[in-house]
């Protein structure tokens, strides 16, 4: 097993409250790791620590066996690319300008982009479906277009590890599927390690090899989606009962939120999942019949 990130006894806090405490984690090279957990559980902080944007208060982070602090910004950016939650750009840079910035780390001096840089960026923009926006300024893009442009920028770095903070939060379902397809392809074909923060448990379950469930500044559970996403774990962390069955295509755990906290949480507990499932299916069939 080839480890890329090794976090040991990591502590982190901004001011008073510990965000992460005695935190251990190994990120395996070539995996897709999902970071999940409630709001404020430290998912984004953890991602920023991995990106070198925050410094640990205590403990160590190693990347490929070398302390993260010893990497220069340039060395790190050749290995790790980050897609932040949200990007605002004040000045009227075009999408082409923004994506080309991903090539910065491969360029020398204050020179110009090489033909190869342009070719790589054009290919990536084609894949991310932002090539037709090349001339538009970043400010006038929709949320989804922005996010795709920023992912294109990260891919232009040609990183070994891709860190993403809720990359699909602003995207419609078609682009959500597209982005995960691209991430999977990068992961499968080029062995890029993907660490992804997600609020969407189903998405995380469906697309990640392993999940890390954060709770009270610790790793509450780490493991396969089947191991991590259980009714008990989710109740303990999110204080909320959910239905869990299997995704019909991938077979991974699928989470359905209860209809309403008051009337369903009590009644639901008694109904076996299969029964619940059949009842929903029955309702759907009846509805279809009516149409």
């Amino acid at each position: 097993m080839n480890v890329c990130y090794r976090l040991s006894e990591l502590n982190f806090r901004y001011t008073d409250d510990w965000i992460l405490q005695n935190f251990d984690l190994q990120v395996v090279a070539g995996e897709v790791l999902g970071l999940i957990g409630p709001n404020g559980s430290g998912k984004t902080s953890l991602l920023k620590l991995l990106a070198g944007l925050l410094q640990p208060t205590g403990g160590t982070i190693e990347l490929y066996g070398k302390a993260l602090q010893q990497f220069s910004a340039q060395e790190l950016a050749r290995k790790v690319a980050m897609v932040p939650q949200e990007t605002q750009i004040l000045f009227p840079f075009t999408v082409a300008d923004i994506v080309l910035m991903g090539r910065f780390v491969h360029q020398n001096g204050w020179g110009w982009e090489s033909a190869e840089d342009v070719r790589i960026v054009q290919d990536i923009m084609q894949v991310m479906e932002v090539h037709h926006l090349a001339n538009r300024t970043f400010q006038e893009l929709s949320g989804g277009e922005r996010q795709r442009a920023i992912i294109a920028r990260a891919l232009a770095q040609e990183p070994r590890i891709l860190l993403l903070d809720e990359p699909t939060a602003f995207l419609d379902i078609k682009h959500q599927i597209d982005i995960f397809e691209i991430l999977k392809r990068l992961n499968r074909d080029q062995g890029v390690t993907v660490v992804i923060v997600s609020h969407d448990l189903n998405q995380a379950s469906q697309h990640c090899d392993r999940l890390l469930l954060l709770h009270e500044s610790r790793a509450f559970q780490v493991g396969s989606p089947e191991q991590v996403l259980t009714v008990d774990h989710i109740r303990a962390v999110y204080h909320c009962d959910v239905l869990i069955d299997r995704h019909p295509m991938s077979g991974t755990p699928r989470i359905t939120l209860p209809q309403c906290r008051d009337d369903s949480s009590s009644s639901m507990a008694g109904i076996p999942i299969e029964g619940q499932h059949n009842r929903i299916r029955g309702q759907q069939q009846r509805r279809r019949g009516l149409q």
């Binding site: 990106a51 000045f91 075009t94 910035m101 001339n135």
Partner: protein, 361 residues
């Protein structure tokens, strides 16, 4: 809004800045600068037509010999008064515009300007102290004032950065407020110094503070030009780093930029340029804000093109403004700061209102 014009199309249709286009823009702008300076040279208390200018420049040495025999010799006016002053105006304008561009990227704020933020004020305080302490006449001439102006600019910039920056961001209003307060404190200190001076020196100080260009001797202009060329050259060397900083420090870092190093470099160079500009011209406001903004609208935000273009056009702008200041009430001269502030103030308000509307909309 799709950007049009020289900054966009490239041979293969991909909108990136090519060397060819960069050279083309620079050549055009240099031509504009030369023409602009020639036009400005003609005007003054006495108009010297272009043909005469050409003759004077051709026979520089010859005309100087004949200077003593005639009363007011156009060549004396041109070569000893107008040309050096125009060159100083150009260098100061170029410095202020280049510093404005850099600060705007560094602070991610299109309203940043060395004058508005009090950095020029810091330099002025340094220079005023040098004058008060008599360092200016200590034989070192130019350089004592220069050094203190540089220190003043640097310290103010550092203080501003520490005060207004929170969580890696510098909100517009925090920044402007910080600038207002820094300016107020610095003005008080400068007033304090001026009250220690005799009335003639105090008057000179005030005129200088209003932003006024006076002719320098050619050797001093050469020194100033050296400062300015090196300073702007260093900033141009940071152009790609400025592009990254303009989108934020965290993204810049994850894209591979040594953010702290680049920031230190840009701060230091900006302080150097502001110090040099203020030492020779006093407080000239708004050039550093207006010019980069206008250039950005036409050529786009890529600093490789934006920075040198702003410098050249900032030089042209200040040379023109100074020509207006010299001629509009001739033979009385206005401080050039009056002209730039009269243009810049309304422009600033326009930007502020526009920005607010954009944020609400």
């Amino acid at each position: 809004m799709t950007r049009t014009g020289i900054a966009v199309s490239s041979p293969d249709g991909f909108p990136t800045l090519s060397v060819g286009r960069w050279v083309k823009v620079m050549v055009i702008l240099c031509a504009v600068a030369v023409v602009g300076l020639l036009v400005c040279l003609q005007f003054g208390t006495e108009r010297i037509p272009l043909s005469q200018i050409a003759r004077i420049v051709m026979n520089w040495s010859h005309e100087q010999m004949g200077a003593e025999t005639q009363g007011i010799n156009p060549s004396v006016i041109l070569l000893d008064v107008r040309l050096p002053r125009l060159l100083v105006a150009f260098l100061v304008g170029a410095s202020l515009a280049a510093v404005g561009v850099s600060l705007q990227a560094l602070l991610r704020n299109p309203l940043a300007d060395p004058f508005i933020l009090g950095i020029s004020g810091g330099a002025a305080l340094g220079a005023a102290m040098a004058v008060q302490l008599g360092l200016a006449w200590a034989g070192a001439g130019f350089s004592a004032v220069e050094l203190l102006a540089f220190l003043g600019a640097g310290m103010t910039m550092w203080g501003l950065y520490r005060v207004a920056m929170a969580d890696g961001k510098m909100p517009v209003y925090t920044l402007l407020l910080a600038g207002v307060i820094i300016n107020a404190v610095l003005s008080a200190l400068i007033l304090f110094i001026s009250s220690l001076l005799d009335s003639t020196s105090a008057f000179r100080l005030f005129f200088w503070l209003m932003g006024s260009l006076a002719s320098l001797a050619y050797p001093s202009i050469l020194v100033l030009a050296l400062y300015v060329v090196i300073g702007i050259g260093l900033l141009c060397g940071q152009a790609r780093n400025l592009n990254l900083l303009a989108i934020g420090e965290a993204p810049a870092q994850t894209l591979g930029l040594d953010v702290e190093h680049a920031k230190r470099m840009i701060f230091f160079t900006s302080a150097l340029l502001t110090g040099a500009a203020v030492a020779v011209s006093g407080l000239i406001g708004f050039v550093g804000m207006m010019i980069p903004h206008a250039v950005r609208m036409v050529l786009g935000p890529d600093h490789r093109l934006l920075l040198p273009s702003s410098a050249i056009l900032g030089g042209c702008f200040l040379a023109t403004a100074d020509t207006i200041a010299r001629t509009v009430l001739a033979p009385t001269e206005l401080p050039v700061g009056v002209i730039t502030a009269l243009c810049g103030g309304p422009f600033f308000i326009y930007l502020l209102v526009n920005k607010r509307r954009a944020q609400m909309g």
